[in-house]
């Protein structure tokens, strides 16, 4: 199977609402249709370019403001994968932005202050966040971002470096649920324990799987409020390093939580480009987005740390490249 065939399968499964085993049913097509969000701009204002939203489709803002210079190499590929999943499944349209112009509910303005018509937070149903470190937002933008999740009940799916973002902004920590404190082992292969095998984004994974990536140490998880989905098993890693700050062996890698009325999902996997080619990783984020968009139900069930229930197994490797034959014939690798 090639990557594109896999994506088509994911997409068709989602569209059919039944194809993927264990996937929760979609509401019937009629219920997906809804009127434009309150803030949607009239098509006449769009200059015929940005359609307000396509019927039955959600709008996802793939937001990775990397203007602060800490750009991970995988960000663009991750966005491309997320875009293709939405495009093929026809569940959502993706707007890729590495700037923060759209993080507002108070209208869009160009660099010289003139009005720019287009989508702002009122038009989006979820944010796929791959930002890093301190991001230049005004106080109004910050308030709008919090309200987008907390009051509007929209989705916030955050990736890898998201826990390094806005360290100086406590409310963002409340939204996300944890903060980054280093990656003590850098890129390492280690078992990952699936602590919640009923949540849509993790229910298809084996109980424990081996994974190689840059493993983050995320601090501040409150297990009374957050449903930890994936945890790094550190039993075979050196936990006596100086930069280890979690001393109870509890290293959450993915979780879901609520923030006000909104749905928040975080997963640390995704440092390397090739991680985004692993089918199970694509499905983690695809199912997380469907949940955050309100297309699939998923219960947030906080629980104490759970031990590994089985020996780790590897995940299926990345799929074959899916370029057209003419392009693959010129492959250079």
């Amino acid at each position: 199977m090639t990557r594109r065939q896999w994506m088509k399968m994911l997409g068709q499964g989602a569209a059919a609402g039944m194809a993927l085993p264990l996937a929760a049913q979609l509401p019937p097509p009629g219920q997906q249709q809804r009127a434009a969000a309150p803030g949607s701009r009239h098509p006449a204002q769009m200059g015929g370019m940005a359609t307000p939203r396509r019927p039955g489709r959600k709008n996802v803002l793939a937001w990775g403001d990397v203007r602060n210079g800490f750009q991970h190499d995988s960000v663009s590929h991750a966005f491309s994968v997320i875009e293709e999943l939405g495009y093929v499944s026809q569940l959502y349209d993706t707007y890729i932005r590495t700037d923060s112009q759209l993080i507002t509910k108070h209208g869009l303005y160009g660099s010289d202050g003139q009005v720019v018509y287009g989508h702002d937070l009122n038009d989006f149903d979820a944010i796929f966040f791959f930002g890093v470190r301190e991001i230049d937002l005004t106080a109004e933008q910050r308030a709008d971002l919090l309200a987008f999740v907390h009051d509007d009940g929209k989705g916030f799916v955050a990736v890898h470096t998201a826990t390094t973002a806005f360290m100086s902004w406590p409310e963002f920590g409340d939204l996300l649920g944890a903060r980054f404190v280093n990656h003590p082992w850098n890129t390492v292969e280690a078992p990952v324990v699936v602590e919640d095998r009923s949540f849509p984004a993790t229910r298809f994974l084996p109980p424990v799987f081996n994974f190689r990536d840059e493993m983050y140490q995320n601090k501040g998880i409150n297990r009374d409020e957050v449903d930890v989905l994936l945890r790094l098993d550190v039993s075979h890693l050196d936990t006596r390093q100086a930069n280890i700050e979690l001393h109870n062996g509890d290293f959450p890698l993915a979780w879901s939580k609520s923030y006000g009325k909104g749905k928040v999902f975080y997963c640390a996997l995704g440092h390397h480009r090739t991680v985004w080619d692993i089918p199970d990783v694509q499905r983690i984020y695809f199912e997380a987005l469907r949940w955050a968009l309100g297309l699939t139900p998923g219960e947030i069930r906080p629980h104490p740390m759970r031990p590994a229930a089985a020996a780790p197994v590897p995940l299926a490797p990345p799929l074959a490249p899916c370029g057209p034959a003419w392009a693959l014939a010129s492959r250079r690798r």
Binding site: Q12, P21, A50, R67, V75, S111, F209, L328
Partner: protein, 338 residues
């Protein structure tokens, strides 16, 4: 914007059985005690061998780097197709290994010494110093300062890097004459709106053009291009005005030959522009994808092409049997397959 996917519900239903079986199929090896060590080999195909390139370290020597630059913060509204176009360009390079792509919708990286939003030097990421070509999807008055403008011109003109531009790129920086020199033409409205029109391939020898019929009908928002001269650019495609309503308001006779795709040199740098690409589904068209892919390869200096300017043909090749919408010959026309 409509879907390009022809699969109907019945087709999906048939697939369901296969999908269900396939999704359950990837048999996981039985758990074993030694599964801990080395059980999961790092995926093949990452030239860094899994180490990654760090934050902004250059790609390996044999890989070219492409910057998809789609700053749409100014102007009327972002085209809905921009993100899909950027993703298609990224995937073609990724899957073939021809180039690695950075997608950016800001303009901080348009500098040899990019700065963070704080004004401090950026610690990594793409910049004019480490990318081999730009794929430009910006529009209107892209916010870069005078120093950045000079560096952008230097990047193409003196460093001999590539600059590939699509559709709304010809609306960019109308008040900056040097950019007009770089690109070779300017947007002069789209008097016909979104329509189906015949397109003449002027140079089937340019990489990518051989996949188009000499005349083909295409459905898109066709730009009228002004300030264009066949003496400066090699015309690759132009509109066949015989198939267009030339009496519409806004049609400028002075804009002949109505070039919509061309290639040219700007100093030492290679420049390619095509106006095709308004709708997201345009970017799914295999012939269009090949056009962009080969244009990028040429702009990256991977494949050669003759872009010596020459006069536009005076005769129109015989028309296709029927002008149809781009689909696969529904009416027997020689439209482009999907």
């Amino acid at each position: 914007m409509k879907s390009a996917r022809p699969l109907g519900w019945c087709c999906i239903a048939i697939l369901c059985a296969a999908v269900g079986a396939a999704a359950q199929a990837p048999a996981r090896p039985p758990a074993s005690p030694q599964a801990l060590a080395g059980a999961y080999p790092f995926p093949q195909g990452d030239p860094s061998g899994g180490r990654g390139f760090g934050r902004g370290a250059p790609a390996p020597r044999n890989m070219k780097t492409l910057l998809v630059w789609a700053d749409t913060r100014n102007g009327i509204a972002q085209h809905d197709s921009v993100s899909h176009a950027a993703a298609v360009i990224e995937r073609m390079g990724y899957e073939t290994g021809a180039y690695y792509t950075f997608i950016r919708t800001d303009s901080n990286i348009i500098s040899y010494h990019p700065k963070m939003t704080t004004g401090q030097p950026a610690s990594g990421g793409p910049s004019l110093a480490n990318v081999d070509a730009i794929f430009f999807l910006g529009h209107r008055d892209v916010p870069i300062d005078a120093a950045q403008k000079a560096e952008l011109l230097h990047f193409v003109h003196d460093d001999g890097k590539g600059f590939v531009a699509a559709h709304m790129a010809s609306t960019a920086w109308m008040d900056w004459p040097a950019f007009g020199d770089l690109l070779g033409g300017r947007f002069d409205q789209h008097p016909w709106g979104i329509t189906t029109a015949p397109v003449i391939v002027e140079d089937p020898g340019f990489p990518g053009m051989q996949f188009f019929p000499r005349v083909f009908s295409f459905h898109d928002e066709f730009y009228q291009i002004k300030d264009f001269s066949p003496q400066n650019s090699r015309v690759l495609m132009r509109l066949d005005t015989a198939g267009l309503d030339m009496s519409r308001p806004g049609v400028q006779k002075a804009d002949a030959p109505y070039a919509i795709t061309w290639a040219k040199m700007y100093g030492k740098g290679r420049v390619f522009y095509s106006a095709l690409g308004h709708d997201a589904s345009t970017w799914d068209n295999p012939a269009i994808q090949r056009m962009w892919f080969n244009a990028i390869e040429w702009a990256l200096g991977v494949i050669p092409a003759d872009v010596t300017p020459r006069p536009v043909s005076t005769t129109v090749p015989p028309p296709p049997p029927a002008y149809g919408r781009g689909g696969r010959g529904r009416r027997g026309g020689r439209g482009l397959g999907r």
